[in-house]
């Protein structure tokens, strides 16, 4: 009896252990199932490189290049803001901050990570967007720049916490060795600690950027959602994610528009897959 | 009567060969002391006897190891471990009360009758010379006890499942001399009812309690004989050297 029970439990545990693989495959299958149908209407090249996204015109024009550029521009902006600040903050927390306030700073970072994206989007909309409009004298503050700033805040908790882990796990004797040679604390940090933690920091940056590319609600609320190829960071853009979120509600199930949105989903899935697998490789290079 | 028989026993952990062609017999109701320097394979051998090595990554065995004439690999593993108990090097109470620590194994083997469990707990604690010290506070955490008391608690916990063999893995390595002598006293009393295998770093302890003594070196069994013979007139030069403290 005990034997049988154990046998069943063992098998159940094994099956649940495989659940993550199962779900990743399931997600991929169901996205592809709906996405591939779009290529009856548009060739993969025209889909990825087409400059017009007019999904409800007759005939529909399904080129996602403007959306890719929108995502790239917002992501690039967010990366430029969040990477230096995030890494600097990680260094401060792990090396410089007095131990008394360290936990407090970490709690602040966790707090930022916990704020729902729709709340950040809302705050961005009512504060940041009017500022951008006024400062740059624009017709609208709903721009790629506003999106980049808000997204930078969503990337920073990821960058800070993973980079801090990487710095923390540098063996203590590296640091002691540098001190013993008479290096100052700051010299030790940028000559010894940062290089030693570099692969972890690269992973932190990649995961932060992954978070940005996949972010939906805040972007949709503050980037203005104009599906044209942007020529400046001060114009409205539309990202891949926002397009799905904004249009799926209106797309008819089984229409080419519906399939096209799934195809965008597959593009996002593949991007996040590549980012996560390579970040994981970087993280494991360390150990 | 012979409890354990090892014939040409070899074990590996990954690429590392921890035991080399060991032949040994362990008799019922004796105390067999196993001595040797660290990494000599003595603990690996001990952990063979209740198959705790199975938990180590990369473990493989070759040769034969029999318990009561049966291939150890064919015996139900939970049943084997119930019959062959283990006391570890450090006192390792479970994060439970004193009572629950001793009752743990009993309950895991399906004994649910409260009076039976209580009786077993009391009897085991008495055998381990701990009852008088803890009888008024059985429900406090086992971590509240001193190191020596914790180790005797671990002995009581092992006794409670009514084993036939008790394996001691350097049981006094973390203890002061007074606690050590209490543990040794318990061992000598237990000999009457149990077979005891004692792995120890302390040569004098082997001399004090062992009926027979085995000397392991680099995974090989160098010599096995009566304790008196080993300590007065060992056959192998290396045994003599180790006992006299020339290495180890």
């Amino acid at each position: 009896m005990r034997k049988l029970k154990e046998f069943i439990i063992d098998k159940l545990i094994f099956i649940c252990g495989l659940a993550s693989i199962f779900f990743v495959i399931l997600i991929f299958l169901f996205l592809s199932k709906e996405a591939l149908a779009v290529f009856k209407y548009v060739s993969p090249v025209d889909f990825l490189a087409g400059k017009r996204w007019y999904p409800i015109s007759e005939p529909a024009q399904l080129g996602i290049l403007p959306l890719i550029f929108g995502s790239l521009m917002v992501t690039l902006g967010a990366a430029i803001i969040s990477i230096p600040i995030g890494i600097a903050c990680a260094v401060y927390i792990s090396e410089v901050a007095p131990s008394g306030i360290k936990e407090f700073l970490k709690a602040g970072i966790e707090l930022l990570a916990a704020i729902p994206s729709v709340v950040l989007g809302f705050i961005g909309m009512v504060t940041l967007v009017p500022w951008v409009k006024r400062i740059f004298g624009l017709p609208t503050g709903l721009t790629a720049l506003s999106g980049s700033i808000i997204l930078a805040f969503m990337a920073m908790p990821t960058i800070v916490s993973i980079a801090e882990d990487a710095l923390y796990s540098v063996p203590k004797n590296y640091k002691e060795g540098a001190f013993a040679l008479g290096a100052t604390h700051w010299q030790t940090i940028y000559r010894v600690l940062l290089p030693a933690a570099s692969s972890g920091i690269v992973a932190a940056v990649m995961l932060g950027i992954g978070r940005v590319i996949g972010e939906t609600m805040a972007v949709m609320m503050i980037t203005g959602n104009a599906a044209v190829i942007p020529h400046s960071i001060l114009v409205p853009v539309r990202t891949l994610t926002a397009t799905i979120a904004a249009e799926m509600g209106e797309a008819v199930v089984g229409s080419e528009h519906y399939f096209a949105l799934f195809a965008i989903g597959i593009v996002l899935f593949i991007i996040s897959f590549i980012i996560n697998v390579s970040a994981d490789l970087f993280l494991h290079k360390r150990s | 009567m012979v409890k354990f028989v090892a014939k040409d026993l070899n074990i590996w952990f990954g690429q590392v060969r921890a035991l080399k062609n060991v032949d040994i017999e362990i008799k019922a109701n004796e105390i067999l002391s196993i001595i040797g320097p660290s990494n000599s394979g003595k603990t690996s051998f001990l952990r063979m006897l209740n198959r705790l090595n199975d938990l180590s990554p990369g473990f493989r065995m070759g040769g034969w190891l029999g318990f009561d004439g049966e291939d150890i690999r064919k015996i139900d593993i939970c049943g084997l471990r119930k019959r062959v108990g283990m006391v570890f090097a450090l006192p390792l109470p479970l994060p439970l009360s004193i009572f629950e620590n001793v009752a743990y194994g009993v309950k895991m083997h399906g004994e649910r009758r409260r009076p039976k469990v209580c009786a077993l707990v009391e009897h085991s604690l008495k055998q381990a010379y701990l009852w008088d010290e803890v009888k008024d506070r059985l429900d406090v955490s086992a971590f509240k006890l001193s190191g020596g008391q914790q180790q005797r608690l671990c002995i009581a916990r092992t006794l409670a499942v009514e084993p036939e063999v008790i394996l001691f893995d350097e049981p006094c390595s973390g203890l002061d001399p007074i606690s050590t002598s209490k543990v040794e006293e318990a061992m000598l009393k237990l000999k009457k009812d149990y077979t005891i295998v004692l792995v120890t770093n302390n040569v004098k302890q082997a001399a004090r309690v062992g009926d027979r003594t085995a000397f392991f070196l680099s995974g090989e069994l160098v010599e096995l004989d009566s304790t008196e013979k080993i300590f007065t007139n060992p056959a192998d030069r290396r045994t003599d050297g180790y006992i006299r403290g020339e290495f180890g």
Binding site: A19, F23, G108, L112, S117, Q187, G214 | -
Partner: protein, 282 residues
């Protein structure tokens, strides 16, 4: 002061500045939402249905909807996540299969939330014909929080000392008995922490529920798991972008309720973790 010391001072100042640059806005965001949202909070706001095209009344259906969704998600994700964590911590060795499982978890954690929404739409709403419903939304959210639960539960299980397992096994307890009576009880605070963090995440997400459950306006409570519901994050999105002329107070009030809910869960998780570390017996 020597040159190197001066450059260290300057460098540390900039590091400090960067930290402020993150934390000050965070503080401001919380303060502003509390300050502007608090005046909206009263019993009516929390217990009434939205009225006048969501420009007045309360947000009760959205609060209830979020509770249903979060509860459903955890009901699905906790058992699977916990067992998966047990597999990884207690059964899995270092073989290629387990490497793939870990990679799958990392990937699951990185899939954009809107892609979860698409997946939920394709699988639960359309393929399994659950329609836009609590069931579809909960399952979608459940799969999304699965990696959080697996990762934290696994850490909690692995932090239980190996020696406890050895002791239990050496007494003849079986593997499952050891897990059930020794490993799990000592990992519960960590598992609880992960579960609550997952709850918080599920409560705050909008994109996965957009097409799987969320109702634009539905001033009644759901009767079955096949009903649609309103949800707090989606409601906040709707009244801040889709409905014109909503009083600022109501928007901030909704943001405050959502933020409080999420932060409260995180706070509880942090307190459990803190107490557990303090009282740790080994």
């Amino acid at each position: 002061m020597s040159n190197t010391q001066r450059s260290q001072k300057i460098a540390f100042f900039f590091l400090f500045l960067a930290t402020l640059l993150i934390l000050v806005p965070v503080g401001l965001i919380v303060v502003v939402i509390v300050q502007k949202g608090l005046p909206a909070i009263n019993w009516q706001f929390l217990s009434d249905i939205p009225r006048q095209g969501m420009r007045a009344g309360g947000i009760f259906p959205a609060i209830i909807g979020t509770f249903y969704l979060v509860f459903g998600a955890i009901l699905f994700a906790l058992p699977i996540g916990l067992l998966a964590a047990i597999y990884l911590s207690e059964y899995a060795g270092n073989n290629p299969l387990n490497r793939i499982i870990k990679l799958a978890i990392v990937n699951l954690a990185g899939v954009p939330s809107v892609v979860y929404g698409l997946f939920g739409l394709a699988l639960f709403v359309v393929f399994l014909r659950f329609g836009a419903s609590i069931l579809s939304g909960s399952l979608t959210l459940g799969i999304m929080i699965l990696p959080i639960i697996i990762t934290t539960a696994r850490e909690a299980l692995e932090s239980v000392p190996q020696s406890f397992r050895e002791v239990s096994l050496s007494l003849g307890a079986s593997k499952w008995q050891t897990i059930r009576h020794i490993v799990l009880p000592n990992a519960i605070p960590g598992i609880l922490t992960g579960t609550i963090l997952g709850l918080g995440r599920a409560a705050g997400e909008t994109a996965p529920i957009l097409f799987t459950v969320a109702a634009f306006y539905l001033p009644r409570l759901p009767k079955s798991i096949f009903d649609q519901v309103m949800a707090l994050p989606y409601h906040l999105y709707v009244i801040s972008t889709q409905v014109p002329n909503v009083e600022e107070k109501i928007r901030y009030g909704t943001a405050l309720v959502l933020l409080s809910l999420v932060l409260f869960m995180n706070l509880v998780a942090i307190i459990i973790r803190y107490n557990f570390r303090k009282r740790k017996k080994w």
